[in-house]
Each structure stands twice: as C-alpha cells, then as structure tokens.
C-alpha cells in the first residue's frame, strides 16, 4: 500500500486494522470491495435504498455505498465474514441455511448484519418487530417469510442458550 496518493486512513475490517490511501470521493463500499479485500459486501443499487451493502460501522448498520471511505477513518467495520471465525458459521447463518432464508444469496450478507445488530439490542423481538427491522434490506427471491422464519429460529436458540451468540 503506497501513501503517495489521497488520504491515509486506518480502518479495522473484521478486527484487522489496515491502512489505506484513498481519494476523497471513494465510497466505503468501493474500498471494501477492492483494496479492502471484502467482496462479500455487495453493490445492489448504489443509492442507499436496497440495503444490500449493509455493514456494521462501529457496531451500527450503514449502507456502505453512502459512506465515504475517509469518513470511516479510525472505525471498526464488520462484514458478514466477521460474524463467525474463519471456516465456521454463526448460528444465525445456520438458521438461514436450515430455513432456506437465502436463495440467490445476494441480499444475505447485508440482511444477516442487520439482523445480528437488531437482535443484539432487542433479543426478544417478536415477528412484527423483526419485520420492521429488515424493512431496509430488500430481497427479491424469498418473499421474506422464510427469512423471518430463520430469524425467529435463531432468536429462540439464543434466548434458550442465553449466551448471546
């Protein structure tokens, strides 16, 4: 990484701090998908509507297409690959597998992060609250019913285990 162009910023991606030299007009999404080595963050609309590019920025969900990379300087970014250890699946990911909450899979990374964030704050959320929680993440394949089934299964599991997966 050279520091000969743009602004030198430091971003931690899934717990790994890295320095980048970026132009001021580079979006966080573009940075993550290229030099950031995180193609799991998907571009859906580029206008902040579909939620496909959702990542957690210092723990809060954002549309990465609407955040400049320089705004994320010094921040912690969590992508879907940060949910579980390398080569393992988080219980929420397993719930999506078991309930076929993913078809084409393109909305899945953003959807999973929104759900994880919401349930961390509202562990006993009911189905209607969960429906509101994912309203900003569009899915064109599933009709959402199986996604909500998967989320509820994960919610019940973590309530039962009580260990806040």
């Amino acid at each position: 990484m050279t520091a000969t162009r743009g602004h030198l910023i430091s971003i931690s991606i899934n717990g790994r701090p890295t320095e980048f030299a970026v132009e001021p007009n580079l979006s966080l999404l573009e940075l993550l998908r290229t030099d950031g080595g995180s193609p799991e963050v998907k571009l859906g609309c580029g206008e902040g509507v579909c939620g496909t590019c959702t990542v957690l920025l210092d723990g809060e969900p954002v549309n990465a297409c609407l955040v400049w990379a320089v705004q994320a300087d010094g921040c912690e970014i969590t992508t879907v690959r940060g949910l579980a250890a390398e080569g393992e699946l988080h219980d929420l990911q397993n719930a999506f597998l078991d309930h076929a909450g993913s078809q084409c899979g393109f909305c899945t990374p953003g959807m999973l992060l929104t759900v994880k964030w919401y349930l961390d704050r509202h562990p006993a959320a009911d189905r209607e609250e969960l429906r509101h929680a994912i309203a900003g993440n569009l899915c064109r394949c599933t009709g959402y019913t199986k996604i909500l089934d998967a989320i509820e299964a994960y919610r019940d599991l973590r309530l039962k285990d009580g260990d806040g997966h």
């Binding site: 998908r33 193609p39 799991e40 998907k42 571009l43 859906g44 609309c45 580029g46 206008e47 509507v49 579909c50 496909t52 992508t79 879907v80 690959r81 699946l89 990911q93 397993n94 999506f96 597998l97 076929a100 909450g101 993913s102 078809q103 084409c104 899979g105 393109f106 909305c107 899945t108 990374p109 999973l112 189905r127 429906r131 509101h132 994912i134 309203a135 900003g136 993440n137 569009l138 899915c139 064109r140 394949c141 599933t142 009709g143 959402y144 019913t145 199986k146 996604i147 909500l148």
Partner: protein
Amino acid sequence: MATDAHHPDTSKLIRLLDAVEGPDAPVTTPPRPAPARGPLGRTSPVPHRDFVEKVAGTLPYADDWGFPGMLHGVVVRARVPCARIASIDVSEAQGVPGVRAVLTAADIPHNAISEEASGLGIEQTVQPVLAGERIRYDGEPVACIAAESMVAAVHAAGLVDVEYEDEDGVFTIDEALADGAPSVHPGGNTYVAYHSAIGDVDAAMARADHIIEGTYQTPRVDHAYLEPESGVGWVDADGVVTLRVSTQVIEHARALAEILKLPHSRVRVIAAYMGGGFGGKEDMTVEPYLAALVWKTRRPVRMVWERQESLLARQKRHPFRMHYRTGVRDDGTIVAQDIKILGDAGAYPLLSSRVLFAGGVNATGPYRCTDARMQSTAIFTNTVPTSAFRGFGAMQVVFGYESQMDLIAQRLGLSREEVRERNFVARGDIRVTGEPIETECGTRECMHRALQELGELSAPTRGGRVGRGFACSMQPYGRSMFFADRASAWIGLEQDGTLVIRAGVTDLGAGQAASLANIAGEILGVTVDRTSVHIGDSHLTPLTGGTFATRQLYMSGNALQKVATLLRDKLAPVACDLLGCTESELEWANNLVGVAGDRARSVTMAELSRTAEARDVMPYVHDTYHAQVGHFDPDTGQGQTYPDYTHGCHAVDVEVDERTGEITILKYVAVHDVGRAIDLQRVEGQIHGAAAQGIGYALSEEMETEGGVLHSTLFANYLIPTALDLPDLTAIGLELYLGKGPFGARGIGEPPIGPCGPALASAVQDAVGVRMHRLPMTPERVLAALHTGRDDSVPGVTREDT
C-alpha cells in the same frame, strides 16, 4: 420420458412411478393420483455447497472476480427516445488519459444481435449492438469504453459527442397503431400477430345466453434482481475470448462469436451463480460490450451496470392490453371465447415473438372451451424493449381470464367457485391450438385447498373493509415443442467414490445445481456432500440450454436422471460380481452399494469405482435427454405448443382503506400441484418468491413512461415489496398428479407469479364492490375507482367497452 427412449427401471421409486402412469400415457386413461411422498429428497438434508457459501458470504458472483490490471468498461447511452444520429465524435473521449478503447457502431465486426427467437421462422428485425444510425429508445447504447480506471471511463463517456436529429416517435401502442404513425422499423409497427381458433366462435356466441366483455391492462415492470448486470472478460492463453458473467444462457457464446466474426470455438461464456435473474438475464446484458472491448484491447475488462442504467435501459416485462369477449350459458358454462391481446414490444424484438405466443395460446386458462379464438399481437414502440420475465406472457393473461371469470360470476349471480367448477379443463380436453392436454389437471384441488387453508374471513385491522379473493392458473413449463428441446449431462464416479456432475445449467439461486446432485443421489446413493456439480461453462460442461421457461429442472433434471441411471446400470454387473447377488437385489444408498435387506453385504462406492476401472468399465456416462417434439403451423394457428402445465390457485384476504385506497394483505395462500417435489423446501421457496414478485406487480410496481421517457429509474421510486409490504405467505406444493420432469416433477419457477394480480383484484371487489381492470392497483387508482364506482384507468377504453 415421453419421446425419450430411455426409461430408468430398476429403483423402487421408478417402479412405483411407472405403476401410476408415465406422463406420456394415452389421454384416455382414468386419472390416477401421484403416490404419497416417498423417499425422494433423502440426500437433501445436507445443504448443497452453494447455499453454504451464500450465507458465509464467500460465493464469488460475477463482479467478485477479476484480474490484476483489468480495464473498466462502460456503455455510453443515448438520452433521447427517437432520433437520427447525425454524427458521433469520440476524439475527445479517446484523449482522456487511461482510455484504451472507445468503440462505436463502426468498430463492431458484425453489429447485430441476431436470433431467430420465434422458432417459427418469423423474420427477426435486427438489433444493433451499438446504434449507428437511429436511436429507437431512451438509453440505447451508442458507444462503449474501456479505461484503466472507472473514473477515466466515466469521464470519457461524458465526452462522447453525439449529434442527434430528433424524430417523431410512437410511445404507446395506440400511437403506434394510429393511421400514418411513424414506423419504429421499416414495415410498420406490428411486429408479429398470432391467431388460433377452434370450433365456430361466431355461431357459439350467437347461441350464448350472455356475452360478457372486459378489457384488462397490465404494467411494464422491471425484474429488479439485486445483483446488477456484471462480469469480466479476457482472452485466454489459447486465444479464446472468455467471459465470466451473470447470465441465464451460456449458449449466447455463439451469438457473441458471430458479433466478433470469430469461430464459435473461440468464444466461451462461463456463468457465475447469479444474484437473481427472473428472465432479465436471459437476453444478453453486458456480454457483447465486454466481448468487443476485450477483443479490441486484448486486455481483461470488467463491466458492471449501474442500477439506474439497468432500470432505464435493460428489457422489461411486456405491458398487455387484453380484450375478452366470453359467451356463457345461464348456468355459467362457457360456450365461446374471443380474445384479443396487444403487447408492447418496445423498440426491438428480443423475445417478443415467444412472449406473445405464450400469452395467446394460454389465454383461455384452465377452462374448457370448444369454440374459441385468440389474436395476440406484438407492437413496436419507441420505448425500452420488453422481453422475458418470469411468467413470459402466460402470466399476464391470468389477469385477463380470471378477471373475466369473476365478471361472469357477478353478472350471473353465481359464486366465483361455481363458475370455475363448471368450466375446469381436464386431461384430454382440446385447447385453442387444437391439441389435447396430456396430463391430469389439478386446478380444482388447488382451489379447494387454498380456500380451505385461508379459513375464516380475516377481521379488519385498521377500520377498513375486508374482502376475500382467489384466482386459478394453468401455466406451461418447458419450451414450446417445436424447439425440439434437449439437454446433455456428464456424470462420473471418482476413485474415492465421490461423484462429479458436469452440466451447462445456469443457477439463478433456485437451487438448479443442488437439484442435479439430489437427483443423482436418488439414483446412485451418493450424498450431496460427496457430489461436485460443475455448471455453466460453454466450453467445459455439456450444454443443457439456458435456465428459462421453467425448463431447467424438467430438462437437465431428466438428463441427470438418465445419465445417473445409465451409470448405475453400467456399474451394476460389477457390483453384483463383488457382492454375489443379482441386479434386482442391489440397493444404492449412503455412499454404499449393497444387497437389499442384508446390511452385512455391501461395498463402498470407492471400491466399486476402482474395481470397475480395473476391469475397463469406465465409471462415467455422457448422454442427452430429448424433450417431446411437436409441430405448430403459425398460418393456421394449430399444432402442438407446450409439453405440460403447472396448475395452481392463490387465495387472499385484503383490507381496503376507503379513505386512502390502500390495500393491505391480511392473509395469503398459494397452492400449486408440483407433481413431485425434488426438494419441497426449495419448491416452497419458489412459490414464496414468485408470489411476492406477483404481489409487487399487482400493487406497486410500474415503469410509467411519458413521451418515451421512463419515470422510474431509481430504486427509490420503483417500488418492489419490502418486508413490511408483504404478509407471511403460506406456500403449499401439492404432489397431486405427475408431470413430465424427473420423477414426475412439474416446473414451479414461473407459474406462481400468475394468480397474484387477479386474486387481489377479486378480493378488492369482494371488499368494496369495485372491480379493478388495471394493474398495479395503486392507492390512487383504487381511490379514483371508489369515487366513480368503477375503474376507468385502462387507457383507450371507453365505458361502453367494459
């Protein structure tokens, strides 16, 4: 199956199916139900690899893969709907630092996207890759650019200087059909007109007790898959232009070779797993531009269309205007049908010939009619082209025929169920094309089940009026029989007993690859986790044909059933030798082949594979499945159309707010006869997804145009359903009557999108007494209809017509 010489015959399952009639049984045999759900799907509890990668975020889609030093490609689009190109000057664009190629029409070796799409010899109007003389729709490509950076490419695009001379265009079908209208292409604005008739419609109409007329309008809509059109291309070490793209059809490699004037063997298309397609990636998207830029620069090039570009200029669903005139007896029996359909093809043909064909021949729905006539016509306009979209003409007409059934019930004072009960088709009934329906029809059972599942009428939740509606449908799966469809596959057992499948299918996300592993596992007993499925490579996988027309499970599934059974038959003598038993005693399960009922006697698939190879019995098979072939005469409108149909019914409770016109869905049930489910959970997933897309079509989605300019080119104002717009959907895949797919499966990808619009319109009518004739039923339209007591929103239709 039907015309395929090969009949798998040794597994218990197949014997069971044979006992209840194959799909090609004569039409005179009495109906027999499919067997109760058997062992199918025993290999599917392990999820196929692609689904694991998807939830992990590690699946490489078309834009997640590239090369060091690749160029960035963009398409330059005209922003006028109808014009003559006076000049194009690219000198400034070429001067931008980092720009490596700026291509215009003159740079494309063979500047034509040509395909004889109809299959019936209908002349195809040529569509240029890059427009050089005329612009026929807003957003038409005029140039493409490759540069070292995206910034340079976009900068250069803005400097391509095109001088346009505006021309008069036609922007609606009424304008296109007016006397003296300008022609979009030489030869007038009627692109293709189909007609079919059986019996004597005029005489039957004269005998009818009532003649019921209705005109219905459906919208232009976008597929709105979440993955943009994208991919990367390069020239490989052997000089082959290779594209790895998001596409439903790798066979486009041939059309690309013709565009580049290269031998077919020098262009290869690899299909990445798609982030949705729905027919929108059935025609080429980025491919010709990528290929031309790669070939010109001899460099790897990446191209991703912006969402706004996709909404503006990629093909849409055809808006249909349908006029139904139905003669009925007092008891509700249909005695005559006279149907006229106009579809807006936009500026180029693409697949319009097939879409209007599908609309026309399916326009009578699941209802018997001995005297019927249809005309189905595609009209050119100076608007964005329309083409394939889930349901493909056969879904628009569901809104026509089901609205008409409700209208009949209302006029005659009969119940909506009763009118349908009197007219449902059955196996052996003759369609408007003069052909019989070859398999059992489960529409009635689906209707009963859907209404039963809905239960008591829902209570209002916000002070509105509640109503119940439903709609039935019968939609085809598989390509029209005159395409003589086929699919090839390769299967081989590795020395360690793992299985390899090669088949050129493309995977939309519905589990196309997974189902091949399931089918092979069903026959050979190898589990999904020990099976590798290689798909979607025009050079390395046997061609199956694209994933469209609800044909992929039907075609590649049957191909897999065939090669897996052939491989089992090839290996069976070796297994018998090892086990000291007869072939009929063999049982293939859990990665072992053994003697049925004797758990001590078995060998691993690894041992079987190694032994077979040592004896020069090579453990692999490559073969082709051929679908039923038929003939259709476009002059008489008679002949054979589709191999088979999927039946269904959706039922719904809605609440209508009379102050705002807003429709809220309270409960929604979708039931389809799937014949035999290869993976019931994925089948339900298809029903869920199609119903959701159909609800968007019915209530909120529309790409309105004005003077050829689209209003909705942002996701912010093209409204696909969010989680808040949909209730929990109940999807039921019934295994009623066997179809023609593997193990008797019927196709399910497209059919569940059909009934949504008319079911919702039916429920709205039940709630507030007004029948909507136009989709989507936006609050504005519903409110206007509530004020006047009727829906006047169908353009070009006077009150007397409806």
